[in-house]
Amino acid sequence: MISCLVLERPGTWRTIGVTALLFIAVLPAAPLVWSALVSLASASVFAGNAFQNAIENSILLALCVAVVSLAIGLPFGVLTALYEFPGRSVFFALATLPLLVPSFLWAIGWASLAARLAPFVSTTLSGFPGCLVVMSTQGIPLVLLIAYAATLALSGSQVDAARLAGGERVVVRSVARYVASPTLLAAGLSGVLTLSDPGPGQIFGFPTAASEILISFSARYDFVLAGRQCVMLTALVLALAAPLVFFSIPRLASEVLVRQSRKVRRIQHQRLAGVVVAALGIFVFIGILVPLLGLMLPLVGGTAFFRAWNELSHTAGNTLGYAIGAGTIATFLGLPLALCAGRNDQLRAVCFGVALGLLSLPPAFTALGIVQLAAAAPAWADLFLRSRFTVCMALGLRFFPVVAVLGLRAWGATSATWVLVASLHGVSLGTYLRRVTLPLLLPVGGVGLLLVALLATADISTVLLLHPPGERSLPLAILTVMANAPETLVASLCLVYVTAAIGLLTVVWTIAEGRNV
């Protein structure tokens, strides 16, 4: 019998487990990365000054997005977890909507509206400001969700103690400090995600590394050059993120005191509820409703709802399937990774470093790696390498770092004494994992699954490159028709998509709130 004490002891199994899981995640991108590394010695990394300039722009944009996302997402997450306010589920649905809409659409919405409003608005948004607005709109919900989840891990006693010490101001300040580490990591992730997204840069005319890499892929069809550029970008990201990792990892989680079994309860506080509603309202209005308006203005001239509904009915199953499949795979990878890393700071740092590196790679890297692997594999492997499962797998591999960070935090917050008691009573490892660990980690798994599902839905490149012929998702359908489809059709598709998404998210949040997740 394997004692559950192994969960709290160092061991080579941890290193093996972390290595194996990270290897699985990195494997599809490995061939292209390897070709790039091999070619580094003999060729130029940059292929011109443009890439150097683009990298500087991208790093600046990523940093600013991380800061803005943290500054807005952290207080939002904390306040929404602590205080009641009306219409919570709808607000959450709207606030998390940006995660599942490709950034291209937000950028086009802004650009369209700006063009109609006044030239100076277009000029103001042109370049860096437009990119910052759009990317931050996507980064804020990620940080908000992680701050929210981290706040819920507190005990009621801790919040009450802070309340007694100095009222709500002390509560918010203490809680914000408590959730600072995982939220910082989330902000880092949101910044890194911008590095692999060429959308807003293309629309607003701001050269980014992602645009340059896209050029290498789509204009020069030079995989190896694209690979070199990606390797360079990833190395820079890791170097810049090292201080964040060294600061945050040791502070990632505080072991909960086991007598802290009373959960945080939201309270009624009129003034703060008003602040939350107003602030969230401003974010939803500026970040979501305004660009949505820009996307849907063509509806004034007519609609194409029948065609849009038709498209939705053909693609809804795939859209949901890819999203939930990706979330499930990411959870099945991310949580075991967290278990293997345990409370070991070095292993946690390695996990997070690799996670950042993976997220900074453009999605095409992993996807094209899988395409090449599938082409070299025998036909029977198509079940795994050329099916809808493949799309889920690629998306899950891309975004599993999000679940890993959540899992690292959640595991770090469990008490080591629980394992000690179990080992004294002869509870086997399997029984302990099944009866205690899994149920305790399930809420975190749920949040992670939802986050990954949202992010995966917005990933066009992976779906384009891997979907079985005829099995596209709705966001991909929107982007494939929008080149020369009537504006009314594109607007109708966007409206149908957004409405369905808001409806689904509202249901999810209502259920989650009901179970107090």
Binding site: V258, W418, V436
Partner: protein, 245 residues
């Protein structure tokens, strides 16, 4: 009961070069109820963890009936085979499981059939007078009730050794006294060897007949209350005895 005696032989324990226990030796006869006293951080909880096999000594041996069960950096007999049950300072109830499931999970390593395990679990809950709380989760019961659950979980496995690490902190006097008397009765009836770590003189003298005083990682003195009261050597024990009145 299968173990008649437990002994520490020159046991030392270091954490990152910090010496917590320094060549500690003592013997615990079977069925004896012993309190371990000492200042905070003197190694009391470490003694319990070494006894339970949750950690290995840095030097010396832990012996059960003269046979080595732990030696330097090695635990020869794993915790679940030592017939030890422990109530931790923080109780360590699994928050996602109900009261009865906490006890049942504690019995899962015993190889009992489901019916037998259920019966034993309910008997343990009844012994601790918390049968009515069986379906509640730890978060929904009071501190005192949580301590009874931890105790029930420990007693359900019918241990030879019951290790109690400051389990009564924060309880009101009446509840504490009642629990102590119940444990004393159950332990005597079951011939369980009890080791209690506490700062409270009342707890120590109600439950235990003898004590062991640790100071700076050494055993300063040991013996029955009568022996210790008649000639306390350490400052710690002098203050302790003065509070006994």
């Amino acid at each position: 009961m299968s173990v008649s005696q437990c002994a520490f032989r020159s046991v030392s324990k270091l954490y990152d070069k910090h010496v917590v226990l320094d060549e500690v030796s003592f013997t615990l006869p079977a069925g004896e109820h012993t309190a371990i006293l000492g200042l905070s951080g003197c190694g009391k909880s470490t003694v319990l963890r070494l006894l339970a096999g949750l950690e290995a000594p840095s030097a010396g041996q832990v012996l059960f009936d003269g046979k080595s069960v732990s030696e330097p950096h090695r635990v020869l007999k794993p915790p679940h085979l030592r017939e030890v049950a422990m109530v931790f300072q923080d109780l360590a109830l699994w928050p996602n499981l109900s009261v009865i499931d906490n006890v049942l999970l504690g019995l899962s390593g015993k190889g009992l059939i489901k019916k037998e395990a259920e019966k034993r679990a309910r008997e343990a809950l009844a012994l601790c007078t918390i049968e009515s709380l069986a379906e509640r989760k730890p978060g929904a019961i009071s501190g005192g009730q949580q301590q009874r659950v931890a105790l029930a979980r420990a007693l359900a496995v019918q241990p030879s050794f019951l290790l109690l690490d400051e389990p009564f902190a924060g309880l009101d006097l009446i509840t504490k006294t009642t629990l102590l008397e119940e444990i004393a009765t159950l332990a005597s009836e079951g011939k369980i060897t009890v080791v209690l770590v506490t700062h409270d003189p009342t707890e120590a003298t109600t439950l235990c007949r003898s004590a062991l005083v640790l100071e700076n990682g050494h055993v300063e003195e040991t013996g029955t209350w009568e022996e210790l009261r008649s000639n306390p050597r350490s400052e710690m024990l002098r203050v302790f005895c003065s509070r006994l009145g």
